[in-house]
Each structure stands twice: as structure tokens, then as C-alpha cells.
Symmetry: C2
């Protein structure tokens, strides 16, 4: 699917201006850590302008001691730095046929950064979570009105919840991205990082943490960022959560021309929800036959892994369809066809990359 007249901004594809949605051209994914100025940007509302010195993060709800913490105190706490891959739940949406509503992401609404911050568990421990708590709601400062007649009346603030156990174990309150302060578009001054989950849960411009004794049913986990999960034959609306296992081909890019009768290095990345990627296979004949690719570097939890495969291109010119598929340590692999219960999200079926051998 070559796209004409791609609108680029600093090397990123502008998918929309208001709200700002920028995609990394996935063929530029060459390093384990995505440079900050190449990282995709997903926003739902205007980017909040936050004065770091006036910022407070409130911790409340089902806790013994509600409190608020400011930036200076937060960065004074012991921090950790971890690489985490973030992927938009709608990544690859422009592969769907027929076309659906939503930002038309290609392959590049995904990236990996090193995030520095304080584990959420530190603040939860300070607040003393009550025994009836089951979830933690993360609220950003981004807000606005929606067009959706089914949305709540008035202004909506972006918020999402995480199960308490996950919140305690994995969630980071990050204030640095790749060693520098978060840029405004990535959640300055502080954002959540929810490793292994689609990035809608990694709330930017974090302003409030609400411990809750009931499953949260806000707009962004019911009417949006939700899918149909089957209980027997009955569909139930469920919030999107864990990343689905996926490999993407970075090179050759969609529509590229490659030389006949030569060796072409196919390369890309693969990731899963915190499970190790144990293999990536590549097909150069549209999925009829598969060969093992080579995994590069070392496995890091919650981060993608690069891979490559040397393709002996055919001597006959013509179109060829490349496909990659990943398998994780739980034996999960990618479906051949789209599951319609997933609506416009969680797209991890096999994605064809068509190239011209010449």
C-alpha cells in the first residue's frame, strides 16, 4: 500500500494535526532504542502545557493516606531505568479492509525507549492500599470534548485503569525518556509506563492516581479501546490490555524494488506482552512456505527484539509478497486472518509487504 503525498514532519508521518498523531516510518527502525525525535506520537486532545514547578500528582481513593507529591520530591525518590516497547492499540490499522474509522496507522505506531522513573508501587505503599482495592485508575491532564454522541456529556479527561497486581509489579512513573526530560508530546512532566500493554494505558501528563475497589468503566475502556471477548457464544465488551505477539518487516518497505537474483537482507522487529520472542519466521511467497529468521541482540522483557533474514531473490522479475510471523515463549503466534471481534484494534494477523523484484 504505497501512499502518495505523505505529509512528513521531522521524518515522521503526520496522521493528523489536531489532535497530533505522528508515525515513525517503520523502515527507519534500525536501532533497539528508538530516538525520541523519531518516536511515534499519539494524542487524543491538545497537548497540555504543564508548569513542572506547579505540578502535583494526587494519590487517592481506596487508600489509608491520600497524598500529593510534587515533581521535585518524585525525582528525588530512587529511580529505575528500563527499556519498554510501546505500541498503539490501533497500529497497522491501514492494513484493514474494508477501511475503518480511526487514525490510519501503518507499521510505525510502535517504538522502544529507555524510561526512567519511580515504580508506582513506591507511591502505593506510601498511601497504604486498602484490602478491598482491585484496580488503579491513572488520569492524565489531557481533556476535551468528543464528537461521539455516546460519550459522556461535557469535557472528558483521558483515564484508564490497571489491575492492582499489575500496577504494583510493573508500572513505572516515568519522567525521562532516553535519558532526557519527557518532551511535551510524550507526557511532560510525568507519564505512566505500563509494560506489556498497549500504550493507551501508559497515561501521559499524569495528574491523579485513584485506587479503586471496582472495575473502572470509563469511556476509554468501554466505548473506546475495548473489544469483544467471547464467553461461549456471547460477546462481552472487554478493555484492551496485553500486547499481542507480532513481527513487523522494516525492510524492504511496502512497494520497494529489490534486485533479482541477489541477496536481500529482510529485517524487522518482533514483540509480545512480556513473554520472550522465541522465533520469527519469514515467508517470501505470501505465506506458502516459511523459514526461520535470526534473532539479534539479547532478550529484554517488555521490549522488542530485532531480527533479520537473508533472502535469495528469484531470478524472474515480478511482484513478491513478504510476510513475517513471531512466536512467543507461551507458544502464541499470529493468526492468519483478522479476528473481527477486535474491531479496529489489536491488529496482529499476518501483514503482507509487497515488493517488486526487478
Amino acid at each position: 500500500m504505497p501512499e502518495d503525498d505523505i505529509n512528513l514532519r521531522g521524518g515522521r508521518i503526520v496522521r493528523s494535526e489536531e489532535p497530533l498523531n505522528l508515525e515513525m516510518p517503520f523502515e527507519t527502525a534500525e536501532s533497539f532504542i528508538t530516538p525520541t525525535n523519531s518516536f511515534y506520537v499519539r494524542t487524543h486532545f491538545p497537548i497540555p502545557k504543564i508548569d513542572r514547578d506547579a505540578w502535583w500528582l494526587h494519590v487517592e481513593g481506596e487508600v489509608e493516606k491520600s497524598f500529593a507529591i510534587n515533581y521535585e520530591e518524585l525525582v528525588g525518590l530512587e529511580s529505575i531505568t528500563i527499556p519498554v516497547t510501546l505500541e498503539c492499540a490501533g497500529n497497522n490499522r491501514n492494513f484493514l479492509e474494508p477501511k475503518v474509522k480511526g487514525v490510519q496507522w501503518g507499521l510505525g505506531a510502535v517504538g522502544t525507549a529507555e524510561w526512567t522513573g519511580v515504580p508506582l508501587s513506591v507511591l502505593l505503599d506510601r498511601a497504604v492500599v486498602r484490602s478491598n482495592a482491585c484496580e488503579v485508575i491513572l488520569e492524565g491532564a489531557d481533556h476535551g470534548m468528543l464528537d461521539d454522541p455516546k460519550s459522556p456529556p461535557g469535557e472528558l479527561t483521558f483515564s484508564r485503569s490497571v489491575p492492582l497486581e499489575k500496577a504494583k509489579r510493573d508500572v513505572l512513573l516515568a519522567y525521562r525518556m532516553n535519558g532526557k526530560d519527557l518532551p511535551p508530546e510524550h507526557g511532560f512532566p510525568v507519564r505512566a509506563i505500563v509494560p506489556g500493554w498497549y500504550a493507551m494505558a501508559s497515561i501521559k501528563w499524569l495528574q491523579r492516581i485513584i485506587v479503586s475497589s471496582e472495575p473502572f468503566t470509563g469511556y476509554y475502556q468501554t466505548l473506546d479501546y475495548a473489544y469483544w471477548k467471547r464467553r461461549g457464544d456471547i460477546a462481552e465488551l472487554s478493555p484492551i490490555a496485553e500486547l499481542q505477539v507480532k513481527a513487523e518487516i522494516a525492510w524492504p518497505a511496502q512497494g520497494e524494488t529489490v534486485p533479482a537474483n541477489s541477496s536481500v537482507r529482510i529485517r524487522g522487529a518482533a514483540w509480545a506482552a512480556g513473554n520472550e520472542i522465541v522465533g520469527v519466521e519469514v515467508s517470501t511467497d505470501g505465506g506458502s512456505t516459511w523459514k526461520e529468521a535470526t534473532l539479534l541482540g539479547e532478550m529484554k522483557p517488555h521490549a522488542w527484539r530485532f531480527w533479520e533474514f537473508d533472502w535469495k531473490t528469484p531470478s524472474a522479475p515480478g511482484k513478491r509478497t513478504l510476510v513475517a510471523r513471531a512466536t512467543d515463549s507461551l507458544g502464541q503466534t499470529q493468526p492468519v486472518h483478522r479476528d473481527p471481534d477486535r474491531g479496529t484494534y489489536m491488529i496482529n494477523h499476518l501483514l503482507p509487504i509487497t515488493v517488486e523484484v526487478r
Copy 2:
């Protein structure tokens, strides 16, 4: 709001043909029990054609002993007969400004019938509910495809859940309406009656009862028949449940002419979610001043109560706006203005009836 060219069928207003939605002209509400052939009809899909002798009701899920029961056995169990008022969650929708989507019900998507059937608790006891159960899902035989791009792919079957405690205490599996077999449009051969709740929960053409250990999040209690409940300032999507306290004026009807300088009997009905109606007030000046109406008959739980008020009409001709408001035994009364968090449902703010004094 007088309506031109009202399409009537057997005295009922045809709100839509496919699916069939019929409304009782509320000015005909004169008896505590609504005659079956005047009772409003709400359907979402074509009316299922069910052979009573081949019908089975399945009881399954979080129970020790799943089983199925046929019609003959069900009607052989001890039955009870109770009057219950059913009201569509979208009743009065045509009073909303600006106009919203959905069936444009006036005042008459409400009625009271005597329902004969077997308490659901009898079947739940037979199945032996497990201790982890919290809800009971009721599934009808009505099904079809929806236009909504957010609905689950494929055919959808109408289903709704009730908390286990409510299911045990109140829910009836009814096979008679006003002393006769249920008509096809009211759920033949067996329907649920959920007293005190909006009628979307009173599943018709009942075919399956699923005991569940988790809150059910099917289409008809998330994307439809839901509203925004506030937790502090955050809106959460919540399934519609209990009836809201309401009084409706049956006579004079909207747009009627009444004689000046005489006595006109204003009459209507009032209901609440199982709480006693303790008072109905009437205003003949658009809500500026209020007078007590007289409650008629006796209080019956889960059923409406008729009321009347003798109005000395003014000597000066002109338009007058009549309003009624009910209060229940919990002190709950009707709001003056529409709560936008309720979307297109649960409409119980004060409804003006405009008449011409001449």
C-alpha cells in the same frame, strides 16, 4: 407536541414496523391493569416463532447441576401471579430536545399487567448456585444483525443480566399475562419479569439462564441500555437498572382543549422502583405552584398507582402547561431538568403537557 398522521394499529401507535414497536396512547390508561391488546410492544429483532412443545429453558454456568426444563414441566411447578409495571427505558424520548436517535416514544411505553409464572429462585435452587456467583444472565431467542459498527460481529442475541440477589428475590419466569398465554409479541412461551427495573431486563422468549461469577458486559448493558454514572468527576458506563420515580398525566392529553371556568379532572399514573409512591403533585401553571393530587386504589409493590386532581380552570382563555411530579417513600422525586449523563434513557424530569383553555 401533537403528532400529525399518527399511524395506529388496533388502537396503538406504530413507532416502527421492523422491529415492531407499538405504544399505548397514554390517555387510554384508565385501569390499573392494562389490557393485553393495549399494552406497549418493544422488540429489537423479528419476533421469534417458538413451538411451545419443542421449547427448552437451559440453566447453566456457575451451578452444580446444569439442566433444561420444558414448558410442560415449568407450568406444572407452583406459580404466583403479581401485577408488575413495565416501562421501556426510553419512554418519553420524544420529549427530548434536541431530538435524539432511538424509538420516539411519547408517554405510553409503560403498562401494568398481571404476570403468572414461576419464581426464578425455584430453578436456581434446583441448579444449586455456586458460592462464587454474582449475577444471572437472561438470554432471549430474539436475534439478528445490528447496524451499529461498534456491535459484536455477526448475529447478536438479546441478553441482559440481573444481580444474583435480585434474581433470587424478585424475578419471575412468566408464561401468562393477564390470565392468558403470553402473546408472541410479549415473549411466548416464557419471559422474565424483573419487577422494579426498566423493561429491557425482562427478557422475552427466554431460552437460557446463565449463572455468572463476573459482571456481564454484553452489548445491551454496555453499548446500549447504559448511562454515565459519576464517580466524583469521572463518568463511568453503567447498565441501566432501577425505574426512576415518575408521574405521567394521562388526561388531558397533549394539545387537548378544556373548557374555561369549570372543573376538569386531571388524572394519571405514578410509579417507582418498588418503593411506595407517597405523593403526586400537580402544577397547572408550568411548575410555579403545586398542589397535592389524590392517590387512588391501594399501593402494590412494583406497580403503578393512579391519581387524580380536580382543576378549576381559569376564566381567561389561553394555553396552560400542566406538570405532575411524584415522590416515593425514599423521598426521591423528579428532577426539573434532564440529566445529560443519562443519554437517551431514564427520562423522568418534569414533562410539560400543554392544553388550550377555551
